[in-house]
């Protein structure tokens, strides 16, 4: 069953004629995703290797029945495409773009939430459900395999590292979701944990967090009180000095809060198996299922 993106998801790419938009739309299609169209204003009638391009999201939805969108539009202009997708009825919006001013994200998220839509990201590698052959993102498809573990992460390549280990340990994935590295993002750990809790195909969860904010601590509270499935976690940033932005805009320890140690403690207290050595996450996840 998986969550968020499935076999029957109909996906459009906003920014499809840009270099990244084209590359990744085709890569998603190769993986098995139904890439039904793309949007670049002024280029309606063109195709990208057979994928039709539309001037507006509304036109794309009308023609293709798309319900999911992936956005590859530069940060300075990325708020409006999110608003446009909401207005056109898109259910799940995956915003890959990094570098969006947080106030823009906050406004777009407010609109998405008020309309009951799901924003994934921004600054996310995307979402993939291997068993549904549906990839809406930039992650390398080949490292994934179908299976019973849900993966939720704030990172990109760190997620690939973990997924690669899971697969090599024989542990497949139901859905892998990148929440995004920004301070304000759409889906939170709790939002996704709820979906995994209610997904019969997901038997365990791997949670990948990092310094900054309190999302992991809040997730710990939820796990303690409302989730029966086993959870393993890895938290990056034990060595991060306070006050420094460690790559991700959201990865910053400020005023003593948001430290890796605080998150590790909260999760461990909630019964989560927190892995200290990154190279052991795969083996630990396998043992959780046994």
């Amino acid at each position: 069953m998986a969550i968020l993106v499935k076999r029957e998801s109909r996906v459009i790419c906003q920014g499809i004629t840009g270099r990244n938009g084209t590359f990744h739309s085709l890569a998603c299609r190769d993986y098995g995703t139904n890439m039904v169209g793309g949007v670049t204003p002024g280029k309606e009638g063109e195709t990208v290797d057979g994928i039709p391009v539309f001037n507006t999201v509304a036109a794309a939805v009308k023609e293709t029945g798309a319900d999911v969108s992936i956005i590859f539009i530069p940060a300075a202009y990325a708020k409006d495409p999110i608003l446009e997708a909401v207005d056109a009825g898109i259910r799940v919006i995956v915003c890959i773009t990094e570098g969006i001013p947080p106030l823009d994200t906050a406004a777009a998220l407010h609109v998405a939430r008020s309309n009951g839509r799901t924003l994934v990201g921004p600054n996310t590698p995307g979402v993939i459900s291997p068993g549904e052959q549906c990839k809406v993102g930039i992650m390398p498809g080949y490292i994934h395999k179908p299976g019973p573990v849900g993966v939720i992460s704030r990172s990109g390549t760190l997620t690939y590292e973990v997924v690669d280990q899971l697969t090599k340990n024989g542990v497949g994935q139901s859905t892998c979701i990148g929440l995004g590295g920004d301070p304000v993002v759409g889906l939170s750990f709790i939002d996704v944990l709820k979906m995994f809790r209610d997904d019969p195909e997901t038997e365990a969860v791997v949670l990948i967090g990092e310094i900054g904010g309190s999302a992991e601590e809040q997730a710990a509270e939820f796990i303690k009180n409302e989730l029966d499935k086993p959870v393993a976690a890895y938290i990056a940033g034990r060595l991060a000095p306070p006050g420094k932005r460690m790559g991700h805009a959201g990865a910053i320890i400020s005023g003593g809060s948001g430290t890796a140690h605080g998150k590790i403690k909260a999760l461990a207290d909630a019964g989560v198996t927190v892995v200290e050595n990154l190279s052991e996450v795969g083996a630990v996840a396998r043992s959780l299922l046994e």
Binding site: G156, Y160, A236, G247, S279
Partner: protein, 386 residues
């Protein structure tokens, strides 16, 4: 980008926020003249550095007019200030803010920040100002009043008024507070701040003024505030961090001797943690990013090779968008150009891995290629010790 106190005060004063009379000075004589021009009993000399905790570090001095203002100003101006936030190297004092000392009847706290949990700009205020907000949040959270602003509506006058009357029942004070709250919110949103703080906001004989001001501007929004570039003070930043930033590299200096190159911020942080777990000490955090070109990888490797503290280099790459052969070419190019005796341990996975490995193998360089992440980390720690 962080602003100095005097820059933040200029910005806020232009928006109608009262600040103490004062002048920013760059040498001791200038400071003395500025002090005399204030025609006041006492002046405060405030070191301008991008850091809190300046007072405890000796960067703030209150002097009567008959004390040696010039000497004290000269001492502070010529120094590097080491606070609990700067690290042991401290930061150079760029300038001195010379201000009148005012009688303080009450110290309040006022701050604006985008709440990560709610996605709303939130105003925090407290009748107990002057101390770190985090301390107050820990010890007396009930003394912090917050107002969450609707992203589409903006700050309504009644919200500013509500907050003001909670801080002070006195109409004269509350009216001034409401204006200041509104101005600070407007600055936060208008300049895309990550933080806007007035701490303490003081009541001095029925006047409300910002005794200190802190504004941090969001890097992601720099593109739409080009006029703020004139406030940038590079002397307050680590020079290697600045140089890396030009290439779009995220680089943070740490204290150890193992230079690191990784693609992806989360994986980069995790790599540091793994090195530390095995008893090593990373010299830096460095994320080349997903879209790195051969030139950017070359530049990143060059930064490490030029860092005299580095005794061994660890390259950990999981190639998604970044291809392993592109990485290999950049690294090999930099090593060949600089020539180095440093041990280099490479662990690569992902797109074009075979070609990447092949390039390293035929390069003729003594680079250790270790497929296992754990083994690679252990090896580089060993090499750094040798």
């Amino acid at each position: 980008m962080n602003l100095h106190e005097y820059q933040a005060k200029e910005l806020l004063a232009a928006r109608g926020v009262p600040v103490p009379r004062g002048a920013v000075c760059y040498d001791a004589l200038e400071a003395l003249i500025a002090a005399r021009n204030l025609k006041t009993d006492r002046v405060v000399l405030k070191a301008q550095v991008h850091s809190g905790g300046r007072g405890k570090a000796g960067g703030v001095a209150v002097l009567a007019m008959d004390e040696d203002i010039r000497e004290r100003a000269g001492e502070i101006l010529g120094s590097r200030l080491v606070t609990n936030q700067t690290g042991p190297a401290g930061k150079p004092v760029s300038a001195l803010l010379v201000e009148e000392v005012l009688p303080i009847d009450q110290e309040l706290y006022l701050g604006v920040v985008l709440d990560r949990n709610t996605g709303k700009v939130t105003i925090m205020a407290s009748p107990d100002g002057g101390m770190e907000i985090e301390t107050l949040a820990r010890e007396a959270p009930e003394k912090i009043f917050t107002v969450a602003v609707d992203p589409l509506m903006g700050l309504a006058p009644f919200q500013a008024r509500d907050l003001s009357y909670r801080l002070s029942g006195d109409k004269v004070i509350a009216q001034q507070l409401a204006k200041i709250i509104t101005a600070l919110y407007d600055v936060y949103v208008g300049y895309d701040c990550t933080l806007a703080e007035i701490n303490p906001l003081v009541v001095s004989r029925n006047r409300v003024l910002a005794l200190d001001a802190k504004l941090n501007l969001d890097d992601n929004a720099e593109f739409r505030h080009p006029e703020t570039e004139r406030w940038r003070d590079r002397s307050q930043e680590d020079s290697m961090e600045l140089a890396a930033h030009k290439d779009g590299l995220s680089y943070i200096r740490l204290d150890g001797n193992i230079g690191c190159i990784v693609n992806g911020a989360g994986l980069a942080m995790a790599t540091l943690d793994l090195i530390s777990l095995h008893g090593g000490a990373p010299a830096n955090f460095l994320d080349v990013g997903g879209g790195a070109s051969e030139q950017i990888v070359y530049d990143a490797m060059t930064i490490l090779l030029d860092d005299k503290r580095v005794k061994a280099v660890f390259i950990n790459i999981f190639g998604g968008i970044l291809k392993c052969d592109v990485l290999a070419r950049g690294v090999i190019g930099a090593i060949k150009k600089r020539g180095t005796e440093l041990p280099v341990v490479v662990r690569i996975e992902g797109t074009n891995i075979e070609e990447g490995r092949r390039l390293f193998e035929v390069s003729g360089l003594s680079v250790e290629m270790i497929p296992s992440l754990n083994d690679a980390a252990k090896l580089v720690v060993q090499k750094a010790r040798a």
